[in-house]
Symmetry: C2
Subunit: 244 residues, 2 copies
């Protein structure tokens, strides 16, 4: 599936360009564009930081203006810390990447603009955007850095495009205990604990037994768990008999 | 609302502890616990990196074991890069923080474990967890660092707890053009363009007019936009008359 282009506008430190590349590739995005990198291009600090994601820098498009970087784009998102008074819709990264996935599915060419470390995007850049992305951070501490903002957008892109079962589990293939197995376990404990005089006083016995059965049935027991629990009880009985 | 405790297990570099504190506070979380920080405690590099989020470090609980840090918790999530063969549910950060919000709403005390930079959590730590969190990264480049993993979990926590209108807009208070205003705009253009001989050839005129009307109605026009567009057309007419 094609993907949005992430455009770093006038980035300052090479380390941040490299960290942004890593953040993109962590979530499968590899189309980076850069406008007027402060320290020129290529940038060795960017390469060093990008390490495994260096390919993104090799293939990055370098432009001398935001307009140039957006020439072939049909929809542009701009990330800003505090939305200005510009007349544009402001959405969360979640909503933005959901929109982007839909647009790209319909053949649109999408870009996401990220501003320079210090100041962020200028209005001159933001006016070129169709939609503003604003990360809903803690208003008392809205200090996301460039790579973090890229990370959150890339994460949301993957969340809305790659089919990850909402809840995978390592327990695939484990043998779950069946109703009858849990029933037998309950019965085993009830019987032995009855002999042991556990259900006392008598007028509380029924409630105690009910609660115990409920305890077993509430647990996500595997067949192995059940065997272990049977074993525990058997051993206690053996031990008791030994002590007689 | 009470919140989950984020536990950094045996963190190595102070910078990463500070960055984790920033990432938490970016999304309004301020309950940090740390077990056996490699370089001791307090850690000046952590303080320097945390800057605005230094309070989290001052108030962080320091423990000498994972068990100690979890004593008062009722549900524990463990973040791992590659889920081991342990019999536990594995969920995404999204699902985990959704679960955590529900649990905390019901009075449970939740912790999220984050492993050391290099190796991540050991099985000894993971067995103490009820649920494993696995970030669905690019399998070809699953290299999230500690602070990034903390950032994504904190982001998801805020996403599932703080009411942020899904789609805020800077256009609150702008005067949208009414149907009649758009109608008049369409009429104005149609009339003048007709005079100008725009709708040619004749047999295409109706379709061209329909498309033009559709163009105006498709746009989210403000009253100011409408005035601008009227002005544009008037000016073209003035200009034309001047040139006669």
């Amino acid at each position: 599936m094609s993907q949005p282009v992430f455009v770093l506008v006038r980035p300052q430190m090479g380390e941040n360009i490299g960290a942004a590349a890593r953040a993109m590739w962590n979530f499968g995005l590899d189309r980076m564009r850069i406008t007027s990198p402060r320290d020129g291009w290529p940038n060795q600090k960017a390469v060093a930081m990008a390490s495994g994601a260096g390919r993104l820098l090799d293939e990055a498009g370098i432009f001398d203006s935001t307009a140039g970087a957006l020439q072939d784009r049909t929809h542009v998102f701009a990330t800003t810390a505090r939305p200005r008074g510009l007349t544009k819709p402001v959405v969360t990264p979640e909503r933005a990447m959901e929109m982007a996935a839909g647009m790209i599915g319909r053949g649109e060419k999408v870009a996401v603009l990220f501003g320079p470390e210090r100041a962020g995007l200028e209005n001159d850049d933001v006016v070129r955007a169709n939609t503003i992305i604003n990360v809903p951070v803690n208003p008392d501490f809205p200090s996301l850095n460039l790579a973090q903002c890229v990370l959150l957008c890339a994460y949301e892109w993957r969340r809305h495009t790659v089919e990850t079962a909402p809840e995978r589990t390592d327990m695939a293939g484990t043998q779950w205990a069946t109703g009858i197995e849990v029933e037998k376990l309950s019965g085993h404990y009830e019987e032995r604990l009855d002999e042991a005089g556990f259900f006392f006083p008598a007028h509380k016995a029924d409630t105690m037994k009910l609660n115990l059965r409920n305890l077993w049935s509430r647990m996500p027991l595997t067949q192995a768990d059940v065997q272990t629990l049977h074993g525990v009880l058997r051993q206690m009985v053996r031990w008791k008999n030994r002590r007689d």
